[in-house]
Protein backbone atom coordinates (compact mmCIF):
# COMPACT_ATOMS: atom_id res chain seq x y z
CA UNK A 1 0.00 0.00 0.00
CA UNK A 2 2.87 2.36 0.60
CA UNK A 3 4.48 3.26 -2.66
CA UNK A 4 6.05 6.47 -3.83
CA UNK A 5 2.69 7.96 -4.75
CA UNK A 6 0.52 7.22 -1.78
CA UNK A 7 1.62 10.29 0.15
CA UNK A 8 1.12 12.50 -2.87
CA UNK A 9 -2.57 11.76 -3.29
CA UNK A 10 -3.78 14.69 -1.24
CA UNK A 11 -1.54 17.00 -3.23
CA UNK A 12 -3.07 15.51 -6.34
CA UNK A 13 -6.58 16.23 -5.12
CA UNK A 14 -5.57 19.76 -4.23
CA UNK A 15 -4.13 20.25 -7.70
CA UNK A 16 -0.68 20.91 -6.35
CA UNK A 17 1.26 18.47 -8.48
CA UNK A 18 3.00 19.86 -11.52
CA UNK A 19 1.90 18.59 -14.88
CA UNK A 20 4.61 15.97 -15.16
CA UNK A 21 3.91 14.56 -11.72
CA UNK A 22 0.19 14.57 -12.32
CA UNK A 23 0.52 12.61 -15.56
CA UNK A 24 2.84 10.13 -13.89
CA UNK A 25 0.46 9.69 -10.97
CA UNK A 26 -2.51 9.21 -13.26
CA UNK A 27 -0.60 6.55 -15.15
CA UNK A 28 0.19 4.90 -11.85
CA UNK A 29 -3.44 5.07 -10.72
CA UNK A 30 -4.49 3.12 -13.77
CA UNK A 31 -2.49 0.14 -12.61
CA UNK A 32 -2.39 0.41 -8.81
CA UNK A 33 -5.51 -0.79 -7.09
CA UNK A 34 -4.39 0.32 -3.65
CA UNK A 35 -3.75 3.89 -4.68
CA UNK A 36 -6.96 4.05 -6.66
CA UNK A 37 -9.05 2.80 -3.77
CA UNK A 38 -7.22 5.13 -1.41
CA UNK A 39 -7.84 8.08 -3.68
CA UNK A 40 -11.53 7.23 -3.80
CA UNK A 41 -11.76 7.17 -0.03
CA UNK A 42 -9.75 10.36 0.29
CA UNK A 43 -12.09 12.15 -2.09
CA UNK A 44 -15.03 10.96 -0.03
CA UNK A 45 -13.45 12.18 3.18
CA UNK A 46 -12.70 15.56 1.68
CA UNK A 47 -16.19 15.86 0.22
CA UNK A 48 -17.69 15.10 3.61
CA UNK A 49 -15.36 17.51 5.32
CA UNK A 50 -16.33 20.23 2.89
CA UNK A 51 -19.99 19.63 3.57
CA UNK A 52 -19.56 20.22 7.28
CA UNK A 53 -20.94 23.47 8.53
CA UNK A 54 -18.51 26.09 9.72
CA UNK A 55 -20.02 26.44 13.17
CA UNK A 56 -17.95 24.81 15.86
CA UNK A 57 -19.46 22.52 18.47
CA UNK A 58 -20.09 24.10 21.88
CA UNK A 59 -16.93 22.53 23.24
CA UNK A 60 -13.90 22.36 20.99
CA UNK A 61 -13.27 18.69 20.36
CA UNK A 62 -10.71 19.34 17.73
CA UNK A 63 -7.47 19.42 19.74
CA UNK A 64 -8.03 15.93 21.03
CA UNK A 65 -9.25 14.59 17.71
CA UNK A 66 -6.31 16.18 15.98
CA UNK A 67 -3.89 14.76 18.49
CA UNK A 68 -5.34 11.31 17.89
CA UNK A 69 -5.32 11.68 14.15
CA UNK A 70 -1.84 13.07 13.81
CA UNK A 71 1.07 10.82 14.62
CA UNK A 72 4.32 12.59 15.40
CA UNK A 73 5.55 12.00 11.87
CA UNK A 74 2.21 12.22 10.14
CA UNK A 75 0.65 14.88 8.04
CA UNK A 76 -1.48 17.45 9.80
CA UNK A 77 -5.09 18.17 9.26
CA UNK A 78 -6.35 21.70 8.84
CA UNK A 79 -8.50 22.82 11.72
CA UNK A 80 -12.12 22.71 10.82
CA UNK A 81 -13.57 26.12 10.39
CA UNK A 82 -10.27 27.88 10.71
CA UNK A 83 -8.87 26.79 7.38
CA UNK A 84 -11.13 28.48 4.90
CA UNK A 85 -9.59 26.70 1.96
CA UNK A 86 -10.65 23.37 3.48
CA UNK A 87 -7.52 21.43 2.61
CA UNK A 88 -7.37 18.08 4.35
CA UNK A 89 -4.06 16.30 4.05
CA UNK A 90 -4.27 12.76 5.33
CA UNK A 91 -1.57 10.22 5.43
CA UNK A 92 -2.82 7.12 3.73
CA UNK A 93 -3.05 4.77 6.71
CA UNK A 94 -5.42 7.20 8.41
CA UNK A 95 -8.06 7.17 5.74
CA UNK A 96 -10.32 4.45 6.97
CA UNK A 97 -10.43 5.93 10.42
CA UNK A 98 -10.61 9.46 9.08
CA UNK A 99 -13.87 8.80 7.32
CA UNK A 100 -15.38 7.53 10.52
CA UNK A 101 -13.87 10.33 12.58
CA UNK A 102 -15.39 12.89 10.25
CA UNK A 103 -18.77 11.26 10.61
CA UNK A 104 -18.35 11.38 14.34
CA UNK A 105 -17.02 14.92 14.24
CA UNK A 106 -20.09 16.07 12.41
CA UNK A 107 -22.05 14.58 15.26
CA UNK A 108 -19.93 16.32 17.86
CA UNK A 109 -22.37 19.09 18.56
CA UNK A 110 -25.18 16.60 18.94
CA UNK A 111 -23.16 14.50 21.33
CA UNK A 112 -22.34 17.49 23.45
CA UNK A 113 -26.04 18.23 23.56
CA UNK A 114 -26.78 14.67 24.56
CA UNK A 115 -24.08 14.75 27.16
CA UNK A 116 -25.67 17.72 28.82
CA UNK A 117 -28.73 15.63 29.57
CA UNK A 118 -27.36 12.12 29.23
CA UNK A 119 -24.06 11.98 31.06
CA UNK A 120 -23.23 8.50 29.85
CA UNK A 121 -22.64 9.62 26.28
CA UNK A 122 -19.33 11.31 25.72
CA UNK A 123 -17.83 12.54 22.53
CA UNK A 124 -14.25 11.65 23.19
CA UNK A 125 -15.10 8.07 23.97
CA UNK A 126 -16.62 7.78 20.56
CA UNK A 127 -13.72 9.15 18.57
CA UNK A 128 -11.79 6.29 17.14
CA UNK A 129 -8.04 6.38 16.95
CA UNK A 130 -6.68 5.78 13.50
CA UNK A 131 -4.18 3.03 13.02
CA UNK A 132 -0.64 4.31 12.74
CA UNK A 133 -0.16 1.93 9.89
CA UNK A 134 -2.71 -0.09 8.01
CA UNK A 135 -2.37 -3.71 8.95
CA UNK A 136 -4.95 -6.38 9.56
CA UNK A 137 -4.34 -5.98 13.27
CA UNK A 138 -4.83 -2.23 13.17
CA UNK A 139 -7.91 -2.68 11.00
CA UNK A 140 -9.25 -4.99 13.67
CA UNK A 141 -8.58 -2.42 16.38
CA UNK A 142 -10.17 0.27 14.29
CA UNK A 143 -13.29 -1.84 13.85
CA UNK A 144 -13.43 -2.50 17.57
CA UNK A 145 -13.31 1.19 18.43
CA UNK A 146 -15.86 1.98 15.74
CA UNK A 147 -18.13 -0.76 17.09
CA UNK A 148 -17.87 0.90 20.50
CA UNK A 149 -18.97 4.21 19.02
CA UNK A 150 -21.91 2.52 17.31
CA UNK A 151 -22.88 0.84 20.56
CA UNK A 152 -22.96 4.15 22.40
CA UNK A 153 -25.09 5.77 19.73
CA UNK A 154 -27.45 2.79 19.75
CA UNK A 155 -27.78 3.05 23.51
CA UNK A 156 -28.50 6.75 23.19
CA UNK A 157 -31.17 6.01 20.60
CA UNK A 158 -32.75 3.39 22.83
CA UNK A 159 -33.04 6.05 25.53
CA UNK A 160 -34.24 8.78 23.20
CA UNK A 161 -36.55 6.99 20.80
CA UNK A 162 -39.54 7.52 23.07
CA UNK A 163 -39.49 11.11 21.86
CA UNK A 164 -40.17 9.95 18.31
CA UNK A 165 -43.34 8.82 16.60
CA UNK A 166 -43.60 5.02 16.65
CA UNK A 167 -43.86 4.95 12.86
CA UNK A 168 -40.63 6.92 12.59
CA UNK A 169 -38.92 4.59 15.05
CA UNK A 170 -40.09 1.63 13.00
CA UNK A 171 -38.67 3.12 9.81
CA UNK A 172 -35.39 3.93 11.48
CA UNK A 173 -35.13 0.44 12.94
CA UNK A 174 -35.96 -1.16 9.60
CA UNK A 175 -33.27 0.82 7.90
CA UNK A 176 -30.71 0.16 10.60
CA UNK A 177 -31.48 -3.51 9.97
CA UNK A 178 -30.88 -2.99 6.25
CA UNK A 179 -27.47 -1.51 7.06
CA UNK A 180 -26.72 -4.26 9.56
CA UNK A 181 -27.45 -6.88 6.93
CA UNK A 182 -25.05 -5.12 4.57
CA UNK A 183 -22.41 -4.92 7.29
CA UNK A 184 -22.85 -8.61 8.05
CA UNK A 185 -22.46 -9.54 4.40
CA UNK A 186 -19.36 -7.40 4.06
CA UNK A 187 -17.87 -8.88 7.21
CA UNK A 188 -18.47 -12.42 6.01
CA UNK A 189 -16.90 -11.57 2.67
CA UNK A 190 -13.91 -10.08 4.47
CA UNK A 191 -13.42 -13.27 6.42
CA UNK A 192 -12.94 -15.06 3.15
CA UNK A 193 -10.81 -12.31 1.66
CA UNK A 194 -9.34 -10.21 4.48
CA UNK A 195 -6.84 -8.42 2.27
CA UNK A 196 -9.39 -6.95 -0.11
CA UNK A 197 -9.13 -3.18 -0.31
CA UNK A 198 -12.57 -2.96 -1.80
CA UNK A 199 -14.20 -4.97 0.95
CA UNK A 200 -12.38 -3.07 3.69
CA UNK A 201 -13.39 0.27 2.24
CA UNK A 202 -16.93 -0.93 1.56
CA UNK A 203 -17.27 -2.04 5.17
CA UNK A 204 -15.90 1.30 6.37
CA UNK A 205 -18.34 3.18 4.18
CA UNK A 206 -21.28 1.10 5.36
CA UNK A 207 -20.25 1.61 8.99
CA UNK A 208 -20.11 5.32 8.32
CA UNK A 209 -23.66 5.19 6.95
CA UNK A 210 -24.82 3.44 10.10
CA UNK A 211 -23.14 6.03 12.31
CA UNK A 212 -24.70 8.84 10.34
CA UNK A 213 -28.16 7.27 10.52
CA UNK A 214 -27.82 6.76 14.28
CA UNK A 215 -26.59 10.32 14.67
CA UNK A 216 -29.52 11.63 12.67
CA UNK A 217 -32.00 9.51 14.60
CA UNK A 218 -30.65 10.84 17.90
CA UNK A 219 -30.71 14.38 16.59
CA UNK A 220 -34.36 13.96 15.60
CA UNK A 221 -35.24 12.50 18.98
CA UNK A 222 -33.53 15.29 20.88
CA UNK A 223 -34.82 18.05 18.64
CA UNK A 224 -31.38 18.96 17.38
CA UNK A 225 -31.86 18.12 13.74
Amino acid sequence: MNDQWTNRLSEYIDGELDNEERIALEAHLATCGSCYATLAELRQVVARAQSLEDSSPPADLWPEIRARMTPAHGAGVGRRGADRSRRFSFSVPQLLAASIVLALLSAGGMWIGLRSTKPTVTADQNVTSPPSDYTLASAGRWRTSTDAAVTELEEALARNQGQLDTATVRVLRQNLAVIDRAIGQAQRALKRDPGSNYLNLHLANTMRQKIELLRRANALATGQS
Partner: protein, 341 residues
Protein backbone atom coordinates in the same frame (compact mmCIF):
# COMPACT_ATOMS: atom_id res chain seq x y z
CA UNK B 1 -68.62 27.19 9.68
CA UNK B 2 -65.70 28.68 7.95
CA UNK B 3 -63.85 31.76 9.04
CA UNK B 4 -61.89 33.84 6.63
CA UNK B 5 -58.97 35.97 7.64
CA UNK B 6 -57.92 38.44 5.05
CA UNK B 7 -55.13 40.53 6.47
CA UNK B 8 -52.98 42.66 4.30
CA UNK B 9 -49.86 44.07 5.85
CA UNK B 10 -47.16 46.05 4.14
CA UNK B 11 -44.08 45.39 6.19
CA UNK B 12 -40.50 45.98 5.31
CA UNK B 13 -38.13 43.56 6.99
CA UNK B 14 -36.01 46.16 8.66
CA UNK B 15 -38.39 46.17 11.54
CA UNK B 16 -37.41 45.36 15.11
CA UNK B 17 -36.95 41.72 16.01
CA UNK B 18 -39.95 39.44 16.06
CA UNK B 19 -42.44 41.84 14.64
CA UNK B 20 -45.68 40.02 14.39
CA UNK B 21 -47.00 40.35 10.92
CA UNK B 22 -49.98 38.13 11.11
CA UNK B 23 -51.62 35.57 13.30
CA UNK B 24 -54.24 33.44 11.69
CA UNK B 25 -56.38 31.30 13.98
CA UNK B 26 -59.31 29.10 13.35
CA UNK B 27 -62.24 29.86 15.57
CA UNK B 28 -65.20 27.97 16.86
CA UNK B 29 -65.77 24.59 15.32
CA UNK B 30 -64.82 25.68 11.86
CA UNK B 31 -61.78 25.77 9.70
CA UNK B 32 -59.30 28.62 9.66
CA UNK B 33 -58.00 30.22 6.52
CA UNK B 34 -55.42 32.97 6.59
CA UNK B 35 -54.01 35.29 3.97
CA UNK B 36 -51.18 37.71 4.54
CA UNK B 37 -49.17 39.70 2.05
CA UNK B 38 -46.26 41.93 2.93
CA UNK B 39 -43.27 43.52 1.25
CA UNK B 40 -39.72 42.28 1.69
CA UNK B 41 -36.34 43.72 0.86
CA UNK B 42 -33.72 42.08 -1.28
CA UNK B 43 -31.77 39.51 0.70
CA UNK B 44 -34.61 38.54 3.00
CA UNK B 45 -35.02 34.83 3.73
CA UNK B 46 -38.04 32.66 4.37
CA UNK B 47 -38.04 30.27 7.32
CA UNK B 48 -41.04 27.97 7.70
CA UNK B 49 -41.77 25.26 10.23
CA UNK B 50 -44.99 23.32 9.89
CA UNK B 51 -45.48 20.32 12.16
CA UNK B 52 -47.87 18.50 9.83
CA UNK B 53 -49.51 19.11 6.50
CA UNK B 54 -48.06 20.77 3.45
CA UNK B 55 -45.67 23.53 2.68
CA UNK B 56 -46.09 24.66 -0.90
CA UNK B 57 -43.87 27.48 -2.06
CA UNK B 58 -44.21 29.22 -5.41
CA UNK B 59 -42.42 32.26 -6.73
CA UNK B 60 -43.37 35.45 -8.48
CA UNK B 61 -41.71 38.62 -9.73
CA UNK B 62 -42.80 40.83 -6.87
CA UNK B 63 -40.80 41.84 -3.81
CA UNK B 64 -43.47 40.64 -1.47
CA UNK B 65 -44.46 37.46 0.32
CA UNK B 66 -47.94 36.03 0.42
CA UNK B 67 -48.85 33.42 3.00
CA UNK B 68 -52.07 31.52 2.62
CA UNK B 69 -52.95 28.97 5.26
CA UNK B 70 -55.69 26.44 5.72
CA UNK B 71 -56.13 24.63 8.99
CA UNK B 72 -58.51 23.51 11.67
CA UNK B 73 -59.64 25.56 14.60
CA UNK B 74 -57.11 23.85 16.84
CA UNK B 75 -54.16 25.38 15.02
CA UNK B 76 -52.83 28.81 14.33
CA UNK B 77 -50.27 30.28 12.02
CA UNK B 78 -47.89 33.01 13.07
CA UNK B 79 -46.02 35.12 10.56
CA UNK B 80 -43.32 37.36 11.93
CA UNK B 81 -40.01 38.96 11.05
CA UNK B 82 -36.70 38.40 12.74
CA UNK B 83 -34.00 40.55 11.26
CA UNK B 84 -34.12 39.88 7.56
CA UNK B 85 -35.89 36.56 7.98
CA UNK B 86 -39.60 35.97 7.54
CA UNK B 87 -40.71 33.38 10.06
CA UNK B 88 -43.79 31.26 9.51
CA UNK B 89 -44.70 28.96 12.37
CA UNK B 90 -47.66 26.72 13.06
CA UNK B 91 -48.73 25.85 16.55
CA UNK B 92 -51.65 24.30 18.37
CA UNK B 93 -53.84 26.20 20.72
CA UNK B 94 -53.49 23.23 23.02
CA UNK B 95 -50.67 20.86 22.30
CA UNK B 96 -49.24 20.12 18.90
CA UNK B 97 -50.90 21.62 15.87
CA UNK B 98 -53.11 19.57 13.64
CA UNK B 99 -52.74 19.56 9.90
CA UNK B 100 -51.93 22.94 8.42
CA UNK B 101 -51.57 23.52 4.71
CA UNK B 102 -49.39 26.47 3.84
CA UNK B 103 -49.35 27.98 0.39
CA UNK B 104 -46.65 30.61 0.21
CA UNK B 105 -45.58 32.80 -2.69
CA UNK B 106 -42.22 34.53 -2.49
CA UNK B 107 -39.91 36.57 -4.73
CA UNK B 108 -37.96 34.30 -7.04
CA UNK B 109 -34.66 35.47 -5.53
CA UNK B 110 -35.60 34.55 -1.98
CA UNK B 111 -33.69 31.85 -0.14
CA UNK B 112 -35.66 29.56 2.12
CA UNK B 113 -35.50 27.07 4.96
CA UNK B 114 -38.51 24.77 5.21
CA UNK B 115 -39.03 22.11 7.82
CA UNK B 116 -41.68 19.87 9.28
CA UNK B 117 -42.38 16.52 10.86
CA UNK B 118 -45.39 15.05 9.05
CA UNK B 119 -45.01 17.41 6.17
CA UNK B 120 -44.88 17.25 2.41
CA UNK B 121 -42.78 20.05 1.01
CA UNK B 122 -42.82 21.37 -2.53
CA UNK B 123 -41.03 24.32 -4.03
CA UNK B 124 -41.45 25.56 -7.56
CA UNK B 125 -39.27 28.15 -9.22
CA UNK B 126 -36.84 28.94 -6.41
CA UNK B 127 -33.98 31.22 -7.41
CA UNK B 128 -32.05 31.23 -4.14
CA UNK B 129 -30.74 28.66 -1.73
CA UNK B 130 -33.13 26.01 -0.46
CA UNK B 131 -32.96 23.94 2.70
CA UNK B 132 -35.83 21.54 3.27
CA UNK B 133 -36.23 18.83 5.88
CA UNK B 134 -39.11 16.54 6.73
CA UNK B 135 -39.41 13.40 8.84
CA UNK B 136 -42.41 11.78 7.20
CA UNK B 137 -43.09 13.42 3.90
CA UNK B 138 -41.99 13.86 0.35
CA UNK B 139 -39.88 16.74 -0.82
CA UNK B 140 -40.08 18.09 -4.37
CA UNK B 141 -38.07 21.11 -5.41
CA UNK B 142 -37.79 22.77 -8.78
CA UNK B 143 -35.15 25.47 -9.00
CA UNK B 144 -32.67 26.60 -6.41
CA UNK B 145 -29.17 28.00 -6.66
CA UNK B 146 -26.23 28.08 -4.27
CA UNK B 147 -26.63 25.64 -1.41
CA UNK B 148 -29.51 23.27 -1.89
CA UNK B 149 -29.92 20.73 0.92
CA UNK B 150 -32.91 18.40 1.11
CA UNK B 151 -33.48 15.77 3.79
CA UNK B 152 -36.25 13.35 4.51
CA UNK B 153 -36.41 10.28 6.73
CA UNK B 154 -39.41 8.54 5.22
CA UNK B 155 -40.17 10.07 1.90
CA UNK B 156 -38.98 10.49 -1.60
CA UNK B 157 -36.99 13.47 -2.74
CA UNK B 158 -37.10 14.97 -6.22
CA UNK B 159 -35.06 17.89 -7.41
CA UNK B 160 -34.96 19.54 -10.81
CA UNK B 161 -33.52 22.58 -12.56
CA UNK B 162 -31.01 23.34 -9.86
CA UNK B 163 -27.56 24.91 -9.87
CA UNK B 164 -25.10 24.89 -7.01
CA UNK B 165 -23.91 22.70 -4.21
CA UNK B 166 -26.54 20.01 -3.94
CA UNK B 167 -26.89 17.68 -0.98
CA UNK B 168 -29.82 15.28 -0.81
CA UNK B 169 -30.38 12.76 1.92
CA UNK B 170 -33.14 10.32 2.71
CA UNK B 171 -33.42 7.18 4.78
CA UNK B 172 -36.29 5.33 3.16
CA UNK B 173 -37.25 6.72 -0.16
CA UNK B 174 -36.14 7.19 -3.71
CA UNK B 175 -34.12 10.20 -4.78
CA UNK B 176 -34.35 11.71 -8.22
CA UNK B 177 -32.36 14.66 -9.54
CA UNK B 178 -32.80 15.96 -13.06
CA UNK B 179 -31.45 18.90 -15.02
CA UNK B 180 -29.01 19.91 -12.31
CA UNK B 181 -25.51 21.32 -12.29
CA UNK B 182 -22.92 21.77 -9.58
CA UNK B 183 -21.41 19.49 -6.97
CA UNK B 184 -23.78 16.73 -5.98
CA UNK B 185 -23.85 14.52 -2.90
CA UNK B 186 -26.73 12.06 -2.56
CA UNK B 187 -27.34 9.39 0.02
CA UNK B 188 -30.17 7.14 1.08
CA UNK B 189 -30.38 3.80 2.86
CA UNK B 190 -33.31 2.09 1.23
CA UNK B 191 -34.16 3.54 -2.12
CA UNK B 192 -33.10 4.08 -5.70
CA UNK B 193 -31.06 7.07 -6.78
CA UNK B 194 -31.55 8.52 -10.26
CA UNK B 195 -29.49 11.38 -11.64
CA UNK B 196 -30.43 12.41 -15.16
CA UNK B 197 -29.29 15.28 -17.35
CA UNK B 198 -26.62 16.26 -14.88
CA UNK B 199 -23.80 18.71 -15.49
CA UNK B 200 -21.41 18.17 -12.62
CA UNK B 201 -17.72 17.73 -11.94
CA UNK B 202 -18.08 16.17 -8.51
CA UNK B 203 -20.71 13.55 -7.82
CA UNK B 204 -20.95 11.32 -4.77
CA UNK B 205 -23.80 8.82 -4.58
CA UNK B 206 -24.44 6.18 -1.92
CA UNK B 207 -27.31 3.86 -1.19
CA UNK B 208 -27.37 0.61 0.73
CA UNK B 209 -30.37 -1.10 -0.83
CA UNK B 210 -31.23 0.36 -4.18
CA UNK B 211 -30.20 0.95 -7.76
CA UNK B 212 -28.15 3.87 -8.96
CA UNK B 213 -28.45 5.51 -12.37
CA UNK B 214 -26.22 8.35 -13.56
CA UNK B 215 -26.84 10.00 -16.90
CA UNK B 216 -24.83 13.16 -17.20
CA UNK B 217 -21.56 14.81 -17.99
CA UNK B 218 -18.16 13.28 -17.32
CA UNK B 219 -15.98 16.35 -17.02
CA UNK B 220 -12.18 16.50 -17.32
CA UNK B 221 -10.70 16.29 -13.86
CA UNK B 222 -14.07 15.45 -12.40
CA UNK B 223 -14.76 12.88 -9.71
CA UNK B 224 -17.73 10.53 -9.84
CA UNK B 225 -18.32 7.93 -7.19
CA UNK B 226 -21.47 5.81 -7.37
CA UNK B 227 -21.92 3.05 -4.82
CA UNK B 228 -24.57 0.69 -3.55
CA UNK B 229 -24.49 -2.44 -1.47
CA UNK B 230 -27.42 -4.28 -2.98
CA UNK B 231 -28.43 -2.98 -6.37
CA UNK B 232 -27.29 -2.21 -9.87
CA UNK B 233 -25.17 0.75 -10.90
CA UNK B 234 -25.85 2.08 -14.39
CA UNK B 235 -23.82 4.89 -15.90
CA UNK B 236 -24.26 6.58 -19.24
CA UNK B 237 -20.88 7.43 -20.73
CA UNK B 238 -20.90 10.27 -23.27
CA UNK B 239 -18.86 9.58 -26.40
CA UNK B 240 -15.47 11.23 -26.19
CA UNK B 241 -15.36 11.22 -22.41
CA UNK B 242 -11.85 10.87 -21.09
CA UNK B 243 -11.83 8.92 -17.88
CA UNK B 244 -10.07 6.44 -15.68
CA UNK B 245 -12.50 4.07 -14.04
CA UNK B 246 -12.43 1.66 -11.16
CA UNK B 247 -15.13 -0.98 -11.00
CA UNK B 248 -15.68 -3.11 -7.91
CA UNK B 249 -18.25 -5.79 -7.34
CA UNK B 250 -18.18 -8.69 -4.93
CA UNK B 251 -20.95 -10.69 -6.47
CA UNK B 252 -22.12 -9.29 -9.73
CA UNK B 253 -21.45 -8.77 -13.40
CA UNK B 254 -20.12 -5.90 -15.41
CA UNK B 255 -21.28 -5.20 -18.90
CA UNK B 256 -20.88 -2.39 -21.34
CA UNK B 257 -22.60 -1.56 -24.59
CA UNK B 258 -19.26 -0.69 -26.14
CA UNK B 259 -15.86 -2.31 -26.27
CA UNK B 260 -13.06 -1.53 -23.87
CA UNK B 261 -9.94 -3.06 -22.42
CA UNK B 262 -10.11 -3.81 -18.75
CA UNK B 263 -7.22 -4.44 -16.38
CA UNK B 264 -7.61 -6.70 -13.40
CA UNK B 265 -6.59 -4.69 -10.33
CA UNK B 266 -7.58 -7.04 -7.57
CA UNK B 267 -9.82 -9.91 -6.82
CA UNK B 268 -12.95 -7.81 -6.80
CA UNK B 269 -11.88 -4.87 -8.86
CA UNK B 270 -10.69 -3.90 -12.28
CA UNK B 271 -9.92 -0.68 -14.07
CA UNK B 272 -10.22 0.72 -17.53
CA UNK B 273 -9.53 3.96 -19.28
CA UNK B 274 -11.40 5.69 -22.05
CA UNK B 275 -10.44 8.66 -24.18
CA UNK B 276 -7.12 10.27 -24.84
CA UNK B 277 -5.81 10.63 -21.34
CA UNK B 278 -4.63 13.99 -20.06
CA UNK B 279 -6.86 15.52 -17.45
CA UNK B 280 -9.08 12.51 -17.13
CA UNK B 281 -12.13 12.20 -14.95
CA UNK B 282 -12.22 9.64 -12.15
CA UNK B 283 -15.11 7.22 -12.17
CA UNK B 284 -15.57 4.82 -9.27
CA UNK B 285 -18.40 2.33 -9.46
CA UNK B 286 -19.13 -0.11 -6.67
CA UNK B 287 -21.79 -2.62 -5.80
CA UNK B 288 -21.39 -5.46 -3.37
CA UNK B 289 -24.25 -7.46 -4.78
CA UNK B 290 -25.47 -6.23 -8.12
CA UNK B 291 -24.45 -5.49 -11.66
CA UNK B 292 -22.54 -2.57 -13.07
CA UNK B 293 -23.62 -1.38 -16.49
CA UNK B 294 -22.15 1.17 -18.86
CA UNK B 295 -24.29 2.57 -21.61
CA UNK B 296 -24.13 5.21 -24.31
CA UNK B 297 -26.57 8.12 -24.38
CA UNK B 298 -29.96 7.06 -25.62
CA UNK B 299 -29.50 3.46 -24.66
CA UNK B 300 -31.13 3.95 -21.31
CA UNK B 301 -34.55 5.34 -21.90
CA UNK B 302 -35.62 7.12 -18.78
CA UNK B 303 -39.25 7.86 -18.39
CA UNK B 304 -39.85 9.96 -15.37
CA UNK B 305 -43.13 9.42 -13.76
CA UNK B 306 -45.04 11.22 -11.17
CA UNK B 307 -43.76 10.10 -7.86
CA UNK B 308 -46.85 8.37 -6.75
CA UNK B 309 -44.69 5.76 -5.10
CA UNK B 310 -42.15 8.04 -3.54
CA UNK B 311 -41.63 7.40 0.10
CA UNK B 312 -41.58 3.70 -0.35
CA UNK B 313 -38.39 1.80 0.02
CA UNK B 314 -36.62 -0.23 -2.55
CA UNK B 315 -37.76 -3.55 -1.17
CA UNK B 316 -41.37 -2.59 -1.38
CA UNK B 317 -41.48 -2.33 -5.12
CA UNK B 318 -39.07 -4.81 -6.48
CA UNK B 319 -41.64 -5.80 -9.04
CA UNK B 320 -42.47 -2.29 -10.03
CA UNK B 321 -41.23 -1.73 -13.55
CA UNK B 322 -42.86 1.59 -14.23
CA UNK B 323 -40.10 3.98 -13.33
CA UNK B 324 -37.45 3.15 -15.85
CA UNK B 325 -37.84 1.79 -19.29
CA UNK B 326 -34.46 0.34 -19.97
CA UNK B 327 -33.61 -0.41 -23.50
CA UNK B 328 -30.78 -2.83 -23.12
CA UNK B 329 -28.98 -3.32 -26.36
CA UNK B 330 -25.52 -4.14 -25.23
CA UNK B 331 -23.05 -6.66 -26.32
CA UNK B 332 -20.00 -6.75 -24.14
CA UNK B 333 -20.27 -8.73 -20.98
CA UNK B 334 -17.50 -9.00 -18.44
CA UNK B 335 -18.14 -11.56 -15.78
CA UNK B 336 -16.59 -10.79 -12.44
CA UNK B 337 -18.51 -12.96 -10.10
CA UNK B 338 -16.77 -14.00 -6.95
CA UNK B 339 -18.28 -16.41 -4.54
CA UNK B 340 -15.28 -16.22 -2.27
CA UNK B 341 -12.70 -18.87 -1.76
Amino acid sequence: MQMLFAALAAVTLALPQRDNIHQGRGQGQGQGVGDTTFAVQNGARLDVNNFGGEIVVKTWNQNSVQVHSSHSSRSQVNVSASGSTVLVRTEGRRGPPSIVDLDITVPAWMGMTLSGTYTDISVDGAGGSVTAESVQGDIAVTGGTGNVALKSVEGGVTLAKTRGRIEVNSVQGDISIEDASGDITVETVNGDITLARIDAANVEVNTVDGDVLYDGSIKPGGSYRLATHDGDVTVVIPPGASLSASVSTFDGDFDASFAMDTVRAGKHRFTFTLGRGGNTARLELETFSGNIKLRRPGEVGLESRKHKNSGRGHNERDNDNEQYNYNYDYHYKYHYRYAGN
